[in-house]
Amino acid sequence: MKYYTYYPGCSCEDGTATAYSMSAIAVSKALDIELIELEDWNCCGSSPYNSIDELGSLCLGARNLSLAEKKGLDVVTPCSSCYIMLDRVNHHLKESPKVKAKVNEALSAGGLEYKGTVKTRHMLDIFVNDVGYDAIKSKVKKSLSELKVAPYYGCQVVRPGPSFDNPENPQTMERLIESLGAKATPFPLKARCCGGSLVIPEESVALDLTYKLLENAVSNGAECIITVCPLCQVNLDIYQGKVNRKFKSNFKIPVLFFTQLMGIAFGIDNKTLGLGKCVVSPDKVLAKSSAVEKGG
C-alpha cells in the first residue's frame, strides 16, 4: 500500500470536475494507493490570484503545504493548475530565501510555518512512476485494443517544470495508453494551450485554440481524447458545442479524464467513474471497451 496526502482542489471537489476526483480515487484504490485528504485545505488561487496578489498567492500554496508537512507524505493532486500552484511554492521559496522569509512572516499570523519538506506531485506522475506501467497493465480487465486515443497534456502538468516529462513532447500518456491496451494516436498539439480560464472573459480566444486542438486530434484518427486537467476537459468537452457553432465544424469526440479511461480498462463501473458527466457522450468508447472481456 502506498500513502499520499490528497489535495483534490475546488474543481474536483465540488465544481465541474467531480468525475475526475471520483475516478482518481477509484483507480487509486485499484492500484493499492491510499489517498488521505488534506484537512482544512484552501483553494490554490490558480492563475487569477497570482495575477492580483503574487505574495498572497504564494501564501495560499504555502499554507496548504505547511499543513501537509505535519504528515510528511508527498502531496498529490489530479488538477494541473493546483499542481503548478503548489509546486511553484516549493521552487520559488527554495530559490529565494527572501521571499520564503516573507511568506513565513505572513504564515506566522496564522500560527504556521513553511519548511519545504514535502514534495508536490501530479496524479499522472504517481501512477506511472511510483506504481509503474507493468503494475497498471496487470490490473487491466477489459480490452481496449480497438480504441484510438489522443493524449492531451495541455500546459501546466509539464511546464514550466522541472517535471516528470518533457515540456514540449511528453510521452508519459502514450505509454500509459499502450499499457491499458489502447492505441495512442499522434497528436502534434498535445502540449499546446486550450486557452484555460480565458474561456470565461475572452471566450472567442479560447474557442480558437480549442478548435485547433480538436481538429488536430480528430484529423489524426483519434476516437477520444484524454486529459489531465479539469479546465482542459471543460474547454474540450463542454465548449465543444460552441466550437462547432463558431467554426461550423461537426466534432463529436468524447473527452475523458485519463483516470476515467484507466477505470474503464480496470473494469470499474461507469457510475463510480462519473462517465455520465461527460457532455459529449462517451458511448463510443464504452462500446469498444465492452467488446472483449479479457480472460484470466
Binding site: 498572497g56 495560499l60 520559488h92 511546464r159 514550466p160 494551450c193 470565461i200
Partner: protein, 189 residues
C-alpha cells in the same frame, strides 16, 4: 534625459520587487517569447515588445495595455527563453502592478474576472464555481450570460453544475484570512 532615466530605473525596480520580476534585466530581445505565445496576435504589444517598453520605463503604456491579460499561463515562452527570464511570471507581475495601481485595462474582461475570482478565494478560502460565474457576469455584462444558456443546460443535464460548495471550518477560514491580510500588509517584495 536625466528624468527619463530615473523613471525607467524606478519602473524596472518596481517590477524586480515582486517575486518573478527580478529577471527582466536579463532579456536580450530575441523574441522567442512572442514567437511561442499562442495569444501574441491578440495583444497590443507582444511579449518581447512589452518587456522592451517596460525596460524603457514606459510604465503607464505597459500597465494599461491589454497584453498581459491575454497570457493564458501556458509557460511555452518560459521553457524556451534562452535567458531563463520566466516571461510568464513577468506577465503575472505586470498584472499585479496594474491591479495594484488601478491601471488594468477595461478593453478586456480578464482583469474583472481575475478580481472576482480572487475576492471569492480571499473571502471563502474556496472556489464556488457557480457563484463565481454569476458574480462575474453581473459585474461585467449580464446579457452575455444569455449566450451561456445552452452550455449551462448541457452542464446541468450532466450534473456538472453544483450549487453547494465546500466550506472551510470557521477557524481555518480565520487563519487563512489572517495570513492573506498579513501578506497584503507586507506588499509584493
Amino acid at each position: 534625459m536625466e528624468t527619463k532615466e530615473k523613471t525607467s530605473s524606478t519602473f524596472v525596480d518596481e517590477i524586480c520587487s515582486i517575486p518573478g520580476g527580478e529577471k527582466i534585466r536579463l532579456c536580450i530581445q530575441c523574441g522567442t517569447c512572442s514567437g511561442s505565445c499562442p495569444n501574441a496576435n491578440k495583444m497590443e504589444y507582444a511579449p518581447r515588445q512589452l518587456f522592451a517598453m517596460a525596460r524603457a520605463g514606459m510604465r503607464d503604456e505597459v500597465l494599461s495595455s491589454n497584453s498581459m491579460w491575454y497570457c493564458a499561463s501556458c509557460y511555452l515562452c518560459t521553457v524556451r527563453c534562452p535567458r531563463d527570464i520566466k516571461p510568464t511570471d513577468l506577465m503575472h507581475v505586470l498584472e499585479c502592478l496594474a491591479s495594484r495601481h488601478g491601471l488594468s485595462t477595461k478593453k478586456n474582461k480578464t482583469p474583472a474576472m481575475y478580481q472576482t475570482f480572487s475576492n471569492l478565494v480571499y473571502g471563502t478560502g474556496g472556489m464556488p464555481e457557480m457563484g463565481f460565474m454569476m458574480r462575474f457576469y453581473l459585474k461585467t455584462n449580464p446579457f452575455s450570460a444569455l449566450s451561456m444558456i445552452p452550455t449551462a443546460f448541457g452542464m446541468l443535464r450532466h450534473g456538472r453544475l453544483s450549487l453547494k460548495s465546500r466550506k472551510l471550518k470557521p477557524e481555518a477560514q480565520r487563519q487563512l484570512k489572517a495570513i492573506l491580510d498579513k501578506a497584503k500588509e507586507l506588499g509584493g517584495s
